[in-house]
Each structure stands twice: as C-alpha cells, then as structure tokens.
Amino acid sequence: MISTRARAILPSIVKHILLEIISIILFGASLVFFYQCVHFITQRDYVGALLLLLVGFAVIRAGVDLARLGFVRRK
C-alpha cells in the first residue's frame, strides 16, 4: 500500500533518478565518441576525428546540463 504522500513524491524521485541515469549514459557515450576520435586520428582521417570530437563535447555538455537538472529536481 503506497501512502498519498509517497504517491505524490514518487514521480519526482523517478524523474530525478531517470535524469541522473541518462546523464551518466551521456557521459559514457561521450567517452565512446572520444575513443572513436582517437581511432580516426590514427587512421589519418582528421575531418572525421574533428567531427567526432565535437560530437563528444556536445554530448558531454548535454550530460552536464541533465545532471544539473537532476540535482535541482532532487533539491
């Protein structure tokens, strides 16, 4: 049996946990992009490496924003 108060709080908790999980996934994804960037550098495909570097930075920034959002929601 879930109390009324718990029912009111639950969506908020789920939301901030979800936001934190997505931000961690985005951090991991940026790591994959950086890894691929180094791989493309060693293959001398500098344009591809630069594009992947920018994708990595954009993804890590989006992760930071989501983590902030999760933090504010938790408060």
Partner: protein, 271 residues
C-alpha cells in the same frame, strides 16, 4: 613523552614524517626516471644515446631540487616536463613500439605514484597548521546524508578520471593493432607521430579535466556565488516546466555533427 610539551612533540613528529616522506618521494621519482628513461635506454640498440643521457641529468637534478625544497611547481610541473627532453632528442625511446602493454601500465603506475607523492609532500610542507578540532561528519544524521552524497559525487569524479585517460591510452597505445597502424600510416616518422598523438591526447584530457572536474570541485569548495545563481535560475525555469535552452542546443549540435560525420563517412572511401 609526558614531560615534553605538545607543541614540541608535534614539531618533532612533523619533522620525522617530512624526512620519511622525502625519502619515499625520492624513491618514487627514481622509479619513474628508471621506468621512463633508463630502462628504454638500456634496451635501445643504437649509438645516439649520448644526447639523451646528458639530457636526463636535468630531470634528475630537478627531482633532487624539488625534494629538497618541496616546491610544488618543480615537483608537479618541471620534473614531468623535463622527462620529455631526452625523448625529444630520441623519440624511439617512447611510443607503442618501445614499451609493451605491461611496461606501459608499470610506467603509468610509477607516474601516478610520483604525482600523488609530490602532491602530498608539497601540501604537508607548507607549514599550514593542523586543525585543532576535527568535525565528525558522521555524528549527525542530516550532515551524514549530505556527506554521503558528496562522497558519491567525488567517487564518480574519481571513476571518470580513471576511465577517460585509460580509454584514451588504450585507443592510442594498448590496442593490439595500434603500433602497426601508426607504422603503416607514418612509415618514416612512426615514433615521432606516436609521441605527438600522446601529447595531443594529454592536452585534450587536461583541458577536459580542468573544465569539467577541477572547475566544479573548486566552485564546490568555495561555495561559488555564480554557481548558486545559475542553480537558482535553473530552479526558476523548472518551476515554469522549462528545461535549460543550452541542453537543447547541445543535443542539436551533437545531432548535426553526427549527421555531418555520417555524410563524411559516405563520401570518403573505406580505410
């Protein structure tokens, strides 16, 4: 020790620990020097070793000067940078061809050990007085929860700091085909290219570290007003059920760059 005053006792104990710390730091530095320079020199088959041997006197003398003065600039910056001088004279001493994966990991451990040792010696020898009272954060349940949350954040930062460099080092040096790839792409300057990529990746990681780890931690320690205002503004937007515009902007940028990357892959011949 009953007759000795607490102040004299503290001074004696601190001096004793500094002496021990100096010896430990010297051993860590010698370990780093031998792993990074002397062992590759011993295994190198060539006659051009006079220059690098002479150049390796610089990091040795800097190490001794750093340990004696406990100067953080010398220990944490000049000593590691001076290690690159012999390598710049003979790049064959470094890179994927010179070190096996196990040797590389040993070198990484040596470098980390020296860095932590230097940071510890530099921070304890500043003469900063030790706090007379220590607050037990675990004592109060409300503070303890906050403390636990902070510990979680610091642990995540630590994991990020381990995962990122390890992945980049693996991609550059430890992959089974890394050495062969660099040799095939840069037949005449393989070791130099490998060294250059290492420096570029180090600069890249340092910029990410300073921007996304060191800066937030510094703000966190100082209780930065700017950060608080940003969080308040974010809270205000959240009340209006609006996500920050920068989030959409960065997601859009990522998608556009991915689309460009896909077009680039379609346009270029397979490697």
């Amino acid at each position: 020790m009953a007759s000795t005053s607490p102040f004299v006792y503290d001074v004696l104990m601190l001096r004793k620990s500094f002496a021990l710390a100096d010896v430990v730091l010297l051993v860590l530095g010698a370990n780093l020097l031998s792993t990074f320079l002397l062992v590759p020199m011993l295994h190198y088959r060539g006659d051009e070793l006079d220059g690098p041997l002479l150049a390796s006197l610089l990091p040795i003398s800097l190490l001794v000067a750093g340990v004696l003065t406990a100067n953080r600039g010398i220990l944490l910056f000049l000593v590691p940078v001076s290690l690159l001088l012999p390598l710049s004279l003979l790049p064959q001493l470094a890179g994927a061809k010179a070190l096996s994966p196990t040797g590389f990991l040993l070198l990484a451990v040596a470098l980390l050990g020296f860095t932590f040792g230097s940071a510890w010696v530099a921070s304890t020898s500043r003469g900063a007085p030790l706090p007379s009272k220590r607050r037990q954060l675990e004592a109060s349940p409300s503070v303890s929860r906050k403390h636990r949350r902070r510990l979680r954040i610091y642990t995540l930062f630590l994991l990020t700091c381990v995962a990122f460099p390890l992945t980049l080092i693996y991609a550059l040096y430890l992959r089974p085909d890394a050495a062969a790839l660099v040799e095939a792409r840069f037949p005449e300057r393989g070791p130099a290219a490998s060294l250059l990529f290492g420096v570029l990746v180090t600069v890249f990681w340092l910029s990410v570290f300073l921007r996304y780890v060191a800066a937030p931690l510094r703000d966190h320690i100082r209780g930065d007003q700017n950060q608080r205002q940003q969080l308040k503004a974010l809270e205000g937007r959240l009340h209006q059920r609006k996500a920050p515009a920068s989030l959409y902007l960065y997601l859009l940028l990522a998608l556009v760059m991915l689309a460009l990357f896909w077009l680039h892959l379609r346009g270029s011949p397979p490697p």
